[in-house]
């Protein structure tokens, strides 16, 4: 049963200094409602799956294999993938491996600035269970506690071929309407926020940035 979002009240933005709170919105994110006609929704999903724009934010070591992926040899452009430098234009957030706490803060901010439909793909083993850095004091061990993940591409480091297979898999999921990470984020917003604030100790940004 989905909680009624409007009944939960506005966000408090308690991390901000009081004089700054008016500068930011206190609205909660809203759920995506599919088109009432099924065939329209299917068509829209097909369109979404075929223009995946990656946010070019190399958050970890996995970013090093994005270069070959996007250049002449593997050329992901032919699958409708291209990189965008700003979150406002991107629809796929590629988490390049481990997320340190400092980066996680920026990841959350970038993710919330992305406009829907948006999907999160995690590269490497580190976002799944910590990988090599499971005992590190500065990297998170389970990325899906902080943001909803639509697809994991495992390996250290995942090869460009695997990345391409991952892109194809993501397309399949989108076309079938199963890539619903953004909705899960909305539905469990308070749970995600509590997790995020548990590791990010200096939360000095609005609760939902958009």
């Amino acid at each position: 049963m989905k909680p009624n979002q409007s009944a939960l009240g506005p966000l408090m933005n308690e991390g901000l200094p009081p004089e700054d709170r008016d500068l930011f919105s206190n609205a909660r994110p809203v759920l995506y409602e599919p088109y009432p006609v099924e065939v329209v929704e299917k068509f829209v999903n097909w369109v979404r799956a075929n223009s995946l724009w990656l946010l070019a934010f190399g958050t970890g070591c996995g970013a090093v294999e994005i270069n070959p992926l996007m250049t002449a040899r593997y050329d992901a452009y032919r699958m409708g993938v291209q990189t965008r430098p700003t979150p406002r234009q991107a629809s796929v957030f590629l988490i390049g491996g481990y997320a340190s706490v400092k980066t996680l803060k920026r990841i959350i901010r970038s993710y919330e600035q992305m406009q829907g439909p948006k999907f999160v793909v995690c590269l490497g083993i580190c976002p799944i269970n910590g990988g090599m850095y499971w005992d590190s004091y500065n990297t998170v061990n389970q990325f899906d506690l902080y943001l909803p993940v639509d697809l994991y591409i495992t390996g250290c480091m995942p090869r460009p071929e695997v990345l391409m297979a991952g892109v194809l898999e993501l397309k399949k999921k989108i076309m079938e309407g199963r890539a619903d990470g953004a909705n899960r984020y909305v539905e469990n917003f308070d749970w995600y926020k509590a997790n995020q604030k548990r590791v990010i100790k200096n939360w000095n940004m609005p609760d939902y940035n958009w």
Binding site: V101, N129, G130, N141, I200, N202
Partner: protein, 184 residues
């Protein structure tokens, strides 16, 4: 250019040098006292040609209750390196700043303040965040900081993930029949 031994003889007249240890032909380590250290580094830089600060770091000897700062200096003419050790009191670690001698000294000192809690009075930007942000524990590189417990408590482990000590695991699970043979 003076050879390292001649240099040490000359410097030994003015400074209290101890624990001189020649690791290689082009690398030696020595220890100076804390009040003399910055003057010693300056002399090495200005008079002896050790102009390049390779790095600066700290070693934690928790059992002796001391920190040992290490400054590594390089001489580009003789291609010789000197590691200068300085002992600090572990509980109240404070050291004179070298940000006026080398530009990157400020960064190293900022890092050591964050990672070990060593104070360098006068070093600009000393209390800025370097690697960590919003850190609320004891400085993480200190030996008493238990990263496994902290990581488990703060980040949690995914259920199902196991970790074994290879020595135990190989001896008891994988090759129990060789257990005696592999011990030494």
């Amino acid at each position: 250019m003076a050879t390292p031994t001649a240099l040490l003889d000359e410097l030994g007249k003015r400074y209290t040098l101890s624990e001189i240890h020649i690791q290689r032909d082009d690398l030696l380590f020595l220890k100076v006292t804390k009040p003399q250290a910055v003057r010693f580094l300056k002399d090495l830089r200005d008079d002896a040609g050790y102009t390049h600060l390779t790095f600066m770091t700290n070693i934690d000897y928790i059992e002796d209750g001391r920190f040992t700062l290490t400054y590594m200096l390089h001489n580009y003419d003789t291609h010789h390196e000197i590691g200068v050790h300085v002992d600090l009191d572990r509980d109240n670690a404070e050291m004179d700043s070298i940000h006026n001698l080398w530009a990157q000294g400020r960064t190293y000192q900022c890092e050591l303040r964050e990672m070990y809690g060593i104070r360098f009075p006068g070093s600009p930007g000393l209390d800025d965040d370097f690697c960590l942000e919003g850190w609320d524990q004891i400085p993480p590189m200190r030996k008493e900081f238990d990263i496994v417990a902290f990581s488990e408590e703060r980040f949690g482990n995914r259920p199902g993930r196991g970790s074994t000590d290879p020595r135990e695991h190989m001896g008891t699970v994988m090759y129990p029949e060789h257990r005696d043979g592999t011990e030494h």
